[in-house]
Every structure is written in C-alpha cells, then in structure tokens.
Symmetry: C2
Subunit: 145 residues, 2 copies
DNA sequence: TATTATAATAGTAATGATTACTGTAATTGA
DNA sequence: TCAATTACAGTAATCATTACTATTATAATA
C-alpha cells in the first residue's frame, strides 16, 4: 500500500532540522525554522511530511498535553518528561528494570501489547534550580529586612 | 484561588454518569448521554464541568491519541491500554515492580517527578480472539477447498 | 422568608491545530 | 524528451475545545 517516495528538498530540510534538535519542536516551530531556508514552504507541506515521516517510522510524533503535537527524530525507545513550569520536553532513558514491568503486563494481559508511551511530568532541573535561587534570595531579604 | 463550588444538577449528572462507565468516554459521548436526562444541557457545560472536576482531582482527563480527550472517574493510579484495532480504551493495573522504575528515575533525574502517564497500545483481548476465530475459519475453508 | 452575592447555565461565536483540496511544479524512470 | 506520478504552495475547511454574554440557579445572610 505504501507508495514510492520521491525526494524533496522540503522533506529533507524538515528531517535534517529535526535531527539537530533535542527539544521535540512543534510543527509550527519546524515551519518557522525551515522557512529561513525555503521561504515559501507552506505549513501544510510541513504537516504532510511530518505525517509521512512518522508513518515510515523515521520520526516519532508525541502527543503529550493534547494542545499540539511534537516531533522527535530519536526513534529508539525512551521516556519523555514535560515540565509543568516551562512546558519544555526532554528525553529520559528507560531504566533497565522497566522490562520487568513489561513482562508482568505481558503475562497478565490477555491481548497483545505492541508498544508503550510513557511520559512523566513535574519540575525540570532548570526550573527547580531557579525556584531554589529565588527562595534563597527571598530568605536573604527577610534576614536583612 | 479556588472558588467555592455551587451544586448543579448538570455537574452531578455528568459525574454520576461517568462513574458508571469503565470505557473512558469522550466529552461528546458524555453529552449525548446526559442529554437524555437534561435535554437542553449545552456541550459547553459538559466541557466546563469536566475541566472543573479534573482540576479538583475528582476525575482524570486522558489525552491518548490527540484526536479527542477521554475522561475517567477512577482516580487511583493505573495504566491505560488502547486497542489499535477497535480504538477502545481500558484500564491496566500497575505492576508492583514499577516502583523500582520510579525509584531509578527519581535517583537519576535532577528535577522533581510529580507524576506519570503511561499508555500501552496493541490488540485488545476481544480483537485478538476475533482475529484468531477468523484465521481458524479461514484454515478450515482452505482444508475443505 | 426576602435579599443579595455569585457561581453556573444555555446558546452561540471564536479559536487554533490540523487536514483536505486544487491546480501547478518537481522528480523519476523509460 | 516524454510520460507518469509524487510533491508542492496556497487556501479553504474541519472539528474539538474554549470564550463570551445575558440569564438562571444556588447558597449564605439579614
């Protein structure tokens, strides 16, 4: 059913941009960047190619909060983390013992588990640090009131 | 910042309907059902109350495929499974050893992990059974060709 | 019970990410 | 070079969700 792909400068530019990024940009962000190289590229082209690349398994589409999808050129299995403070998304390695969880599920579930999407949320290292800094300076201010 | 809640027949009806269901219905399905009881309820009211209940932690909003959100009145932690065949969503208990995975992540991650959303996909028990049945009858047909 | 403050509603309009459509252009294979 | 077909730009349409507004329901108080 899969039709033969023809090369296109647009698709190559989208994919190579995505491969430089670790922050899982949205279609809109990808569009804004690729536009610098191909000024008259259309947003529809960006979406179509992202769908195409996802379909072929060359990239992964992330649906985290349902606001808008994000795209990831790293296709090896990994978890994701979204910061509730800055909304940034980053990768998390999958701990080895997660395979135990998968085994348990496979043994108890009577269907077929093909894959898993896990994402964690909370405060990212950066925002945690900023938060501590501001509490620290607040305490200093109180001391010297 | 949380304002005081006033009772409303609409919200009570939405919540009690949701509590009878294990299949995590969408806002639209909830709307269709609650309408039988309160014919002139508006879809906006359904959305607003679902958001309100989610905010207060009385229900959980599930964003699985990004097409449309689903709602779940079971608030104790559990995984979800979506069948790629029938698109149905069901609950999965969290295996005990998943706490090991969480511990590993907490020890290696330099931010704060507040929660986790995991969903698995594949073929549900029902669709798997139907599939086997059809292969079985296909084999029979080939034998008796 | 009557009054008052305010949360909630119905109905409708607006939003915004994504998809579909259409005529034209680029790519590939012969 | 030609033919077949994939991809494109530009634009319109879709559709789940949210925002808005005038009115109604709820609950606390007098």
């Amino acid at each position: 059913m899969e039709t033969k792909l023809k090369r296109s400068r647009q698709r190559e530019s989208i994919l190579s941009f995505l491969m430089t990024r670790q922050d899982h940009p949205t279609a809109d962000i990808i569009y804004e960047h690729v536009r610098k190289e191909i000024p008259n590229i259309s947003l529809g082209t960006v979406y179509r190619n992202l769908a195409l690349l996802t379909e072929r398994g060359e990239i992964i589409k992330l649906t985290l909060d349902g606001i808008c999808d994000r795209y990831d050129a790293t296709t090896t299995p990994h978890f994701h983390f979204q910061c509730s403070c800055c909304k940034g998304v980053s990768d998390m390695p999958i701990p080895d013992d997660f395979t135990n969880t998968l085994n348990t599920l496979n043994n108890t579930f009577h269907g077929i588990i093909e894959g898993c999407t896990s994402y964690f949320y909370g405060i990212c290292p950066d925002c945690k640090q900023k938060n501590q800094d501001s509490i620290h300076s607040q305490n200093l201010a109180e001391k010297n009131h």
